[in-house]
Symmetry: C2
Subunit: 227 residues, 2 copies
DNA sequence: AACTGTATGTGAACAGTTTCACAAACCAAA
DNA sequence: TTTGGTTTGTGAAACTGTTCACATACAGTT
C-alpha cells in the first residue's frame, strides 16, 4: 500500500470546513474556475468578482460564492477576489499544487492521442508509463514514450509510483486490467472503455463514454426541451 | 428562436408524459441502461428486472423504475422488462432509432482518434466529413477520410446535412469555428477544447475536458472523502 | 378460476443543491 | 474618521432529484 499520499511536509491543506461531503458539481465547477482564472491571469487581470467569474461560465454569482465558501473565505468584500491568490487556493483544494504520475494503458487510437496531449504536463500530469499487449507495439516508441509490456503492469506501476491510470483498452479486458491496477495500489482510474468498472470503495473511477455524450445531444435534438 | 424543431413526419415519438423537464442525470442513466441492455441482449438474456439493471451499474432499483416511468410503463409486473423491447424504447427516447451525420473539425491527436473509432458507426453515428486548416493535411487521407478545407466549412456542413459536430481544435480558434457551425444550422456540438463555448439557446453543447476529469480524481485523492 | 409470489409504477417523504436576500466587511475618497 | 459604494459570505427559502413503501397487476401453478 504505497500510502505516498499526504507526505509533502508543511502544506496545511484546505479541507471543507464542515464535514459535509462536497458535491460533485461543486468540484467540477472549481476546476472550471481554476481554468478560467488561468486565462484571466495570462490576460493580466488582477482582481475578479463573483459576478464576472459567473458570467464567463454562464453560472450565477451566488453559485460561485457558495462553492468557494465551502472551503473558506478567499475574497475581499467590496472588491472581489485576487485572481492569482484564488487560483492558488483552488489549485490546493483540487490537488493541483503538486505533480501526478500517470500511466496510460492501451496505445491505440485514443491512447496515442492522450500520450501526445501537450496540455497534460501543463496541468500537472506527467505520463510516465504506457502499456500494451501487442507484441508489435511493445518496446517501440510512441510519441517519445517507450511502450511497456502489460505483463509487467503491477511491478512497473509500483516501481514508478503511479498515482493515476488512464485506461484506453477495449471493454473486454478492462475489468481484468483494473483488478491488477487496484492490486498495485493505484487509487484513481480514468476509463474510456464503454463498460461498467467495479472497484473497492477506496478507489476512484471516472468513466468517459463518448458515445454517451453524443447520445445526450441526440436526446436534446429529438426532444427540443426549451433548454 | 428558429423553432425548426419537430418536423420528422410519421414517427410517434416517446415524449415525457408530464411537461416537467427530464433531468440530465436521468438522460445519462438512460444511455447507461441502453448500453447494458445491449450487452444483455448479446448474452441471450430475455428478461431483466429493475433490481438486476440497478445492481449491474451500482444504482438502486427505484431509480431505474423512476427514470423509465417519466416516459411510460414498459415493464410487466411480477416479471420485469423484456430486454429487447426496453432497449428499443430507450433507443427511441434518446434518438438512437435513426442515424446521425457527424463532422469532426480538427484532425490532430484527438480528432484522428475519433475518426478511427470503430464504435461510432455501431451506435448510429456516421462521420461524414473531417476538417482542418493545415494545408499539409487538407486533401490527404486520414483513416479513410479525405480531409476538407475549413474554409468550406459552412457550405459543406449544409450540403451534407450534418446533425452533429465534434470539435477537436485548440481553444483559441474554437469560438470562431463554433459561430460558423451555428451559422450553418447545426444544433449540437461536442467540444474537446478546454474553454467555454457560447451558443444561442437553441444549440446544445457538451464540453469534454479531460484534464478536468483528472482533476476530479486528484481532488478525491487528496481529500479521501469516505466515498 | 382462484391463489401465490414477485416486480412494477408512483405518490409522498426525504435529501441534496441552487437561489435569494441581506448583514457584514472592506476600499477609496473626502 | 466618516461616508458612500460595492461585493462578499451565509442562513433560509425554494427548488430539484432520490429513495421509500405500498397498492396494483401480471405470470405461473394448481
Ligand atoms: N478511438 C476513440 O476515439 C475512442 C473514443 C471513446 C472511447 N474509446 C474507447 O477507448 C478504448 C480504446 O479505443 P481505441 O479506439 O483506442 O481502440 P484501439 O483498438 O485502437 O486500441 C486499443 C489498444 O489496447 C490494446 N490492448 C488490447 N487488449 C489489451 C490488453 N489486454 N492489455 C493491454 N493492451 C491491450 C490494443 O493492443 C490496442 O493498442 C475502447 O474501449 C474504446 O471503446 C475510443
Ligand atoms: N490529445 C488529447 O488527448 C486531448 C485530450 C483532451 C482534449 N484535447 C483538446 O482537443 C483539442 C485538440 O487537441 P489535439 O491534441 O488533437 O491537438 P492537435 O494540435 O494535435 O490537433 C489540433 C488540430 O486542429 C487543427 N486546427 C487548428 N486550428 C484550426 C482551425 N482554425 N481550423 C481548423 N483546424 C484547425 C490543427 O491543424 C490540428 O490538426 C485541444 O483543444 C485539446 O486541448 C486533446
Amino acid at each position: 500500500m504505497g500510502e505516498s499520499g499526504q507526505q509533502s511536509a508543511s502544506i496545511e491543506r484546505l479541507k471543507p470546513q464542515d464535514k459535509r461531503r462536497i458535491s460533485d458539481s461543486t468540484i467540477h465547477r472549481l476546476s472550471l474556475y481554476h481554468r478560467l482564472l488561468g486565462e484571466l491571469e495570462s490576460d493580466g487581470t488582477k482582481t475578479v468578482s463573483s459576478k464576472q467569474l459567473a458570467e464567463l461560465q454562464r453560472l450565477t454569482p451566488a453559485q460561485v460564492r457558495k462553492d468557494l465558501s465551502f472551503f473558506g473565505a478567499f475574497g475581499t468584500r467590496g472588491l472581489g477576489y485576487s485572481v492569482s491568490d484564488l487560483r492558488k487556493k483552488i489549485a490546493e483544494i483540487i490537488g493541483l499544487d503538486r505533480r501526478w504520475n500517470v500511466a496510460v494503458i492501451g496505445v491505440g487510437n485514443i491512447g496515442s492521442a492522450l500520450i501526445g496531449f501537450k496540455e497534460f504536463p501543463n496541468r500537472g500530469f506527467d505520463v510516465k508509463l504506457v502499456f500494451d499487449n501487442d507484441q508489435r507495439k511493445i518496446g517501440s516508441n510512441h510519441k517519445g514514450m517507450r511502450v511497456s509490456d502489460i505483463r509487467n503492469l503491477k511491478e512497473d506501476l509500483k516501481a514508478n509510483q503511479i498515482d493515476l491510470v488512464i485506461l484506453a483498452v477495449p471493454s473486454s479486458p478492462a475489468q481484468k486490467i483494473v483488478d491488477e491496477v487496484v492490486a498495485a495500489g493505484v487509487k484513481a482510474i480514468l476509463s474510456f472503455a464503454p463498460t461498467h468498472i467495479d472497484v473497492p470503495p477506496d478507489v476512484y473511477v471516472r468513466s468517459e463514454d463518448m458515445s454517451m455524450e453524443l447520445e445526450y445531444l441526440t436526446y436534446a435534438l429529438v426532444n427540443n426541451p426549451g433548454k
